[in-house]
Symmetry: C2
């Protein structure tokens, strides 16, 4: 049996206020200009209330991320039946998203968090809204015979994400047709 709690329960409203404020300030100022004191003030919450529940700034951001509060869009690959077209469409949307200046900063901040926080790093693919779903679709396509049997799915997914990261870090907008070229390269 779970021993019943004794005193006042954790304030859900405070928790929500903190997470919402964190996500807002993160998107607005980026990770490195994010301060615990700033979040507390803006959220109308005591600093100690934050430190009581979150060990660090990166952990706080991680929770926002895993609750889907950081990325404004759902990057779900479409399902038309043609796996290569779907991948191209999805990758192209991802490129167009990251190429917008404000989003570029957002994703770069996200990369910083991934580099600092192990759990965010490990779930990097999930953080970017992909991974399992994408791998599932690729697996299904392989089974259906749309892809060669030996296609190393994990490598393909990692590689796609990696290409996006490189573009974001290099501040190089994706060239026209880059998504298509990349997909053709990986899944000829």
């Amino acid at each position: 049996m779970a021993e019943r709690r004794r005193g006042a329960a954790r304030s859900e409203s405070a928790r929500i206020a903190v997470l919402e404020t964190t996500a807002a300030l993160f998107a607005e100022r980026g990770y490195d200009h994010l301060t615990i004191e700033g979040i507390a003030a803006e959220a109308g919450v005591a600093k100690q209330t934050i430190y009581r529940w979150w060990k660090s700034k990166s952990e706080l951001v991680a929770e926002c991320l895993f609750e889907g509060r950081l990325l404004p869009v759902d990057l779900v690959p479409p399902d038309s039946g043609d796996i290569r077209n779907d991948l191209t469409t999805w990758l192209d949307a991802l490129f167009r998203f990251t190429d917008a200046p404000e989003n570029g900063g957002l994703v770069r901040s996200l990369v910083i968090v991934a580099a600092e926080n192990e759990s965010v790093g490990r779930q990097l693919d999930a953080s970017l809204g992909v991974s399992t779903l994408l791998t599932t679709r690729l697996g299904a396509a392989t089974k259906a015979g749309d892809l060669p049997a030996g296609t190393p799915l994990k490598e393909v997914v990692d590689t796609l994400i990696g290409a996006v990261l490189v573009h974001v870090l290099q501040r190089t907008p994706a060239a026209p047709g880059a998504a298509k070229r990349l997909v053709s390269l990986l899944l000829p």
Copy 2:
């Protein structure tokens, strides 16, 4: 004509001491625990001497990087004549380097700098000791007929780097044979 300087010239020994100390502390503690005051103290230099010549911490680290002081190894791809073997060997060495825990932290710190500092980000490939050289080799291989004529070289290089970054961020040691699989995937 270059106007003759008046007054004391910039101290080269101080400059060297600062860069060496920066590289050492960066490798030892990582980027986020690197402080200007710490560098100044360790290098036996006044804080103002640093601020006089470098605008920010990331710029200081960038100069270390571009002078080759940050990465302890030269990651030059071999040249055996077989471009795929060479790529695999090089990529494998890169994986083995980043898989060592202390190096993983180093590269993750480097990613943080690339995310914060535009010039580092833009020269990300050069920072990792690759790019131009690699692209040159790939171009030569294409010309020699070892690779299909339409191979998108830039995409290939970006993709390789991206795959390495993803592994580093995910804290996933590269699986045995990963380098070979990746190269086969990109250059079938």
